[in-house]
């Protein structure tokens, strides 16, 4: 039997779960990202202003951010499989029903509330929590694969929607997107499972520990801060350090998503096409940044150090953006920032699971993700207002860029070796207790 294991080791089932969540996230995020494709044709048909239709999108951002902790709690209590299956059915049906749009209130309710809430089910915070159950040694890698898929989803689903719209109509395109979302249902039904124990496996497909499978840590034991409920986690320092730096992550990424192209055009005087190319290049690099961060964290360790490095690198990018007054500065910024863009969520999710365990991880991740969204929304508004007052993006970019220094310090000061399960060793005599 041992020889068979050595010669022909099958693919660990966790990778099938990873592939399923990857595809679900891919279609769910892709369908949502495609909203922009519908803005012009729907506005023209119904005579809506850009502001009016944007309200539905704004409501969606708000509802999606606020519902994350609640979906996280559902994940922790009822399990990821059931929640994601229901979310996919609701998301697919509601997306298809957008084909029936006849009034702005219908769009606001269906997209802004139903679609945005349902999208919180297979959100990265929940898929990361599911990955954390299936993986310990390769946790960050699995989470990073899921994160990278979200970027790819936007890159494939949005062009698909654009050409579908050109070939047919916006109603048919919404219907097609809904059907694609529902196509992820069979994969979810077949492959999604809650925990490796459900299939008689250990995390990572590892053999059972010699002392009788009593340890829960990555290398032997549970961390000292492992919690049963999310409330307990917020009584400790690491969650505030991570949530605080995650807030800054939101401020520094959202502000660029919104204001980078106008900044490049107005402050640096380049064409919209070049600005869009630089931005697209930055988004493309984030796939490699996320994957690289996951691999480095798993292989070398010191997740909080990589997190601090990611924030520091992004800070250097901001510094270059503000000091190099040319197109070259934009390209350098895109290169530096692109690598750190998705690295921070991957590392934060992985570190959260390592410190607090997986029992309340869905809720904890949902709450920290809410911090991220609030930071992002606030920074976008702040940048818009300061631009109106000063006529330049220099001040708002300097403010959010400066926040990256305390974020890096906050991440670096997390006592990972003390609290992370990765660095705990099993004590056989206490195995049955705490």
């Amino acid at each position: 039997m041992q020889d068979t294991q050595k010669t022909k080791k099958p693919i660990y089932y966790g990778w099938y779960v990873c592939a399923a969540t990857l595809f679900i996230g891919f279609v769910a995020i892709g369908a949502r990202n495609s909203f922009g494709v519908f803005v012009v044709p729907m506005s023209e048909e119904f005579g809506w202003s850009r502001f009016t239709i944007s309200l539905a999108a704004a409501l969606g951002v708000l509802v999606n951010g606020l519902s994350q902790p609640f979906f996280g709690q559902i994940f922790d209590r009822t399990g990821g499989r059931k929640m994601m299956l229901i979310s996919i059915v609701v998301l697919g049906t509601a997306t298809a029903m957008l084909a029936l749009t006849f009034h702005i209130l219908f769009l606001a309710f269906m997209f802004g509330v139903v679609v945005s809430m349902a999208q919180s089910g297979p959100a990265p915070s929940n898929t990361a929590a599911l990955m954390a159950r299936w993986f310990k040694r390769r946790r960050a890698t699995a989470i990073s694969i899921n994160s990278a898929a979200l970027s790819v989803g936007g890159m494939i689903m949005v062009p698909f929607s654009m050409f579908m719209l050109q070939a047919t109509s916006w109603r048919v395109t919404w219907l097609a997107l809904g059907i694609i979302v529902l196509c992820s249902l069979p994969m979810a039904l077949v492959f999604l499972r809650e925990r490796p124990e459900d299939r008689g496996l250990n995390p990572d497909g590892d053999p059972t520990p010699i002392d009788g499978a009593t340890s829960t840590g990555r290398y032997g034991a549970a961390g000292p801060l492992e919690v049963e409920t999310w409330k307990d986690s917020f009584k400790t320092a690491p969650i505030w350090q991570m949530a605080g730096s995650y807030f800054v992550c939101g401020t520094t990424t959202f502000v660029m998503s919104v204001h980078f192209i106008p900044f490049a055009m107005e402050d640096r005087g380049i064409s919209g096409a070049t600005a869009a190319t630089i931005f697209g290049y930055m988004m493309f690099l984030n796939i490699f940044g996320g994957l690289g961060a996951g691999l480095l964290s798993d292989k070398i360790g010191g997740t909080k150090n990589w997190l601090a490095i990611a924030y520091s690198v992004r800070g250097i990018g901001y510094l270059v953006l503000l000091t190099v007054d040319s197109v070259l500065g934009l390209w350098i910024f895109a290169t530096i920032a692109g690598f750190s863009w998705v690295a921070t969520p991957v590392l934060t999710s992985s570190l959260t699971a390592d410190v607090y365990g997986t029992k309340a991880l869905g809720t904890i991740s949902g709450i920290t993700f809410m911090f991220h969204q609030f930071g992002g929304f606030g920074s976008v508004l702040l940048a818009g207002l300061l631009f109106d007052l000063s006529g330049s993006y220099t001040l708002p970019f300097a403010i959010v860029g400066a926040l990256l220094l305390p974020a890096a310090i906050s991440a670096f000061s997390i006592k990972e070796r003390k609290y992370s399960s990765r660095y705990q060793t099993a004590v056989p005599t206490l195995a049955a207790g705490d």
Binding site: R32, V37, S54, R199, V258
Partner: protein, 87 residues
């Protein structure tokens, strides 16, 4: 305020900027130079290829495992048995 709000959402990362999308579409039109249906079919196949590929790999693995295990197993539980199970 209305213009600020519109501006924010028109460039919101959550749903792609319509102007950026229009520009990307023009680029893709230049690259492919074919009708929209061609791109729709190609993209659709790419999207559907992922679950099909994963399912095929899973079935192949299951078949191989069951073939490997048939001499010393009763075949009642064919999946994942060559990875160590929790007692």
């Amino acid at each position: 305020m209305a213009s600020l709000f519109t501006f924010i959402l028109a460039h919101q990362g959550d749903s792609a900027d319509p102007e950026l999308i229009h520009w990307i579409k023009e680029r893709l039109d230049q690259i492919f130079g074919t009708g929209p249906w061609t791109v729709v079919v190609v993209m659709g196949l790419i999207i559907l290829a992922m679950p099909i590929f994963v399912t095929i790999v899973y079935l192949m693995q299951s078949k191989r495992r069951s073939a490997d295990e048939s001499p010393d197993q009763d075949g009642a539980n064919q999946d994942e048995t060559s990875q160590e199970r929790v007692p």
